[in-house]
Point group: C2
Chain length 83, copies 2
């Protein structure tokens, strides 16, 4: 039950438009980075967890990602437990 | 010169307050996830690159991250080239 960290990535689903990513792609292109064909922007969370075993941590992080960090209608997530 | 992807993580510097992360930590705590001691929120970008060699891609992505994707006053970044 040491301290652990969880990393959570939340990305717009592939089927969902990502206007923020598109804006960045256009900006990069107009600044000379024409090799960038596509940009998708998501969120990245680092959670510090204390006092839970690894198996419990995985379940908790899955629930947090599904219920709070991501909007499952338009976003998908993945996570990993580290340390 | 195949297609490549770059992953870029942009995080608030450790010395900088992260009010968004703190708000999420409080929300999680009040929803019963009391094992979460700290949350830091950052951004995650997936860039599709075309027509550049790997060494050139690394330099380009470093420049994009430094000059456009991150604000070096308050944020730090890391990146990796994949595929």
């Amino acid at each position: 039950m040491r301290a652990m960290k969880a990393h959570v990535w939340v990305m717009p689903k592939r089927t969902v438009l990502d206007p923020q990513g598109q804006a960045i792609q256009h900006a990069l292109s107009s600044l000379g980075f024409s090799e960038v064909q596509d940009v998708r922007q998501g969120k990245f969370f680092v959670l510090d967890l204390n006092g839970v075993a690894r198996a419990a941590a995985e379940k908790q992080v899955e629930r947090m990602a599904k219920e709070i960090l991501a909007n499952p209608v338009i976003e998908e997530f993945r996570y990993e437990i580290v340390e």
